[in-house]
Symmetry: C2
Subunit: 389 residues, 2 copies
């Protein structure tokens, strides 16, 4: 397999885009990524798109073709992948494999979702498709409810507290306040979180990531072709791209207080990359709910099992602390436009490794990791990126 590098990134503002449609958001992100890479559009040889619920939210499937069409990239091969909230991560990995295979030298990956212009009920139903329709959603489970079950179990087994979960939200809002593209650029306090209403006990409104519009894009290039296509780009190498699955329904898992697919995927990633958790300077993890970040930093090996809550409360995951987690603001504060999220995570790590993260820059970041989760953990995708100089 050939080495693959990221030569360009592009993001829209995440938030509520009342004047802009899905098609315009995707084009904006891709155009920014192409400009960032310093390539010409004609150097791109294939497209991969990550979108979750366009069928239900917009009546539009066939998003691969839509991307090529809207970007003026016909007749390039353009493929949509879908893995619920991990659609973006899987899109990056699909582009990675296409370049690693030798089929293509330069590939554009894009993803996004337009979620705020349909009813909350329609969004909840669409997002429910990430879980087990027959065993969970049909019987009334919602995603906050599924993660609430995991939170309760984590509290029971490890003594994790609601205040510790709140600390995750506070830290991610603190980072989001430094990110000009984040949906929420304001700080909050533990008291704010504790006073917000329960969505599904013990998870409160400010434990939950929001509904968001937005798009993200990255340009991938075979590392051996960097001089040809992107001589001036500050390329970042993908040193591992892995993916694992678990049962769709939460009830069928061996444990409800961890995401087993993340452990499988990251262990493979560490072996492939030749690094361990101590080598990771910065990570973007899938904090769709605050408990998810606590389970993530344990499953990724950054903290021992059961200690993630305390580590969060003690500030060990804050910017330039023990390990900088979710410098972008995470899903919680930067927003969660489903198909864009996994790509935004990778983009944030690229910015950090380039030293271009502005006020939220991690000092001398050399190696970064992303963890993108689908559903309640039925899919996990891990990418490890390394600075090239």
């Amino acid at each position: 397999m050939r080495s693959v590098s990221i030569i360009g990134i592009g993001l829209t503002k995440f938030g509520e885009h009342w004047e802009t449609g899905f098609r315009e958001l995707i084009v904006e992100a891709a155009a920014k990524a192409v400009a960032d890479a310093g390539i010409e559009g004609k150097e791109i040889q294939a497209l991969y798109g990550g979108v979750m619920a366009s069928g239900r939210l917009m009546g539009q499937e066939h998003i691969g073709a839509l991307l090529a069409d809207q970007l003026g990239m016909n007749p390039l091969a353009s493929t949509r992948v879908e893995a619920a909230c991990a659609s973006g991560g899987v899109a990056v990995r699909s582009g990675y494999l296409a370049v690693a295979s030798g089929m293509y030298d330069v590939v554009a990956v894009g993803g996004g979702e337009k979620m705020t212009e349909v009813s909350t009920e329609d969004v909840a139903t669409a997002l429910g498709g990430a879980g087990d329709q027959e065993w969970e959603l049909f019987n009334g489970a919602t995603f906050p409810a599924l993660y609430a079950l995991m939170a309760r179990r984590h509290m029971r087994e490890y003594g994790t507290t609601e205040e510790q979960m709140a600390a995750v939200a506070v830290k991610n809002h603190s980072n989001g306040a430094l990110n000009p593209l984040a949906q929420y650029q304001r700080e909050i306090t533990v008291e704010d979180v504790m006073k917000s209403g329960y969505v599904a006990s013990p998870l409160k409104l400010l434990d939950c990531s929001p509904i968001t519009d937005g798009a993200a894009s990255v340009i991938l290039c075979a590392t051996e072709k960097l001089k040809e296509h992107a001589p001036k780009a500050e390329a970042v190498e993908i040193i591992a791209s892995t993916q694992a699955s678990d049962t769709l329904a939460l009830a069928q898992r061996a444990s409800m207080s961890e995401v087993a697919s993340t452990k499988v995927a990251v262990n493979e990633a560490y072996v492939r990359a030749g690094v361990g958790p101590k080598d990771i300077d910065v990570a973007e993890v899938h904090d769709c709910f605050t408990i998810a970040e606590i389970m993530a930093i344990e499953g990724l090996g950054f903290f021992p099992k059961g200690k993630g809550g305390k580590a969060s409360e003690d500030g060990e995951t804050a910017l330039n602390s023990t390990i900088s987690i979710n410098t972008s603001g995470g899903l919680k504060a930067a927003g969660h436009p489903i198909g864009a999220t996994g790509i935004k995570q990778v983009s944030e790590i690229v910015l950090q490794l380039r030293g271009q993260a502005g006020k939220r820059q991690v000092n001398d970041a050399k190696v970064g990791l992303t963890q993108n989760v689908g559903g309640s953990g039925a899919t996990s995708v891990i990418h490890i990126l390394r600075r090239r100089k």
Copy 2:
């Protein structure tokens, strides 16, 4: 890139499965493919699934995770791809790239759709997602209407007749009558087609492929690993796997009487495979409507542009004639369970190249081709397969 071969195929009966759900159909197809390959399930290293409209038809996204779960394959990486009616073909191609890359040696590809238990209106709306929602479906176009426009243009430009289109249906039903897994195993006459009611003039009911339940699966293996994993399998080599796109909306194309993406993809495939149209002994093409088969056999270079209708009427595409087209019965008679179709096409070619196609066997078939189309041509996927001995 490594060479990739197909070592196993598995199909359910195509038709109306009132007693069987999507989950059971997928498991049946995959189990048959594993048995056909003579491998153990644990040799499989990753899964790819092609499903189009599960979100709208079943409220279920995250089909990659569902596949791994239902097949007992956790924690393998499992990825859903979607390209409307070309979802199956794109799934095969995604598996192909994953093996070609060196990431995996053995990959299972599956696809299917469960379409008959929702209302016809819901199916039509779901299928509409294959076209341009904003420019076509929103304004009232249906898929029969889009293909009717193409048929009218072909008739005007080349003098193609309704009787010539009917001849396609008659031939495909004749082949379907020899396929024990086909939805319709009965012959029809040109008169039957001409007497059937108009769906969208000039297309009549018997010019249209049906609504179908079904699933299909193939097992892919790196050719260099065949001795290790599948010493007894009668492997068939994939000598080209290509894909191209066109505008989502029909109205924006340079021509409405051809599928330009098919021409782009097949021309690349012929170069990669080192063969030409005259080398193809048998082909499965995307006859969602009879006019689509006529445009396909022209676009693939089997007959000159404008001569596809006459060739069909003259019997040049019949079993063991000039070139055997849609020996399975095609989408028209074998059925069109969207996500399964592209995989079923590949499976049929494997059977033909192995000499296992029974009463519909093409004499001494050495090289076969599949053409799988998404929407009205916004995606085309081509596979060329070759017998290994």
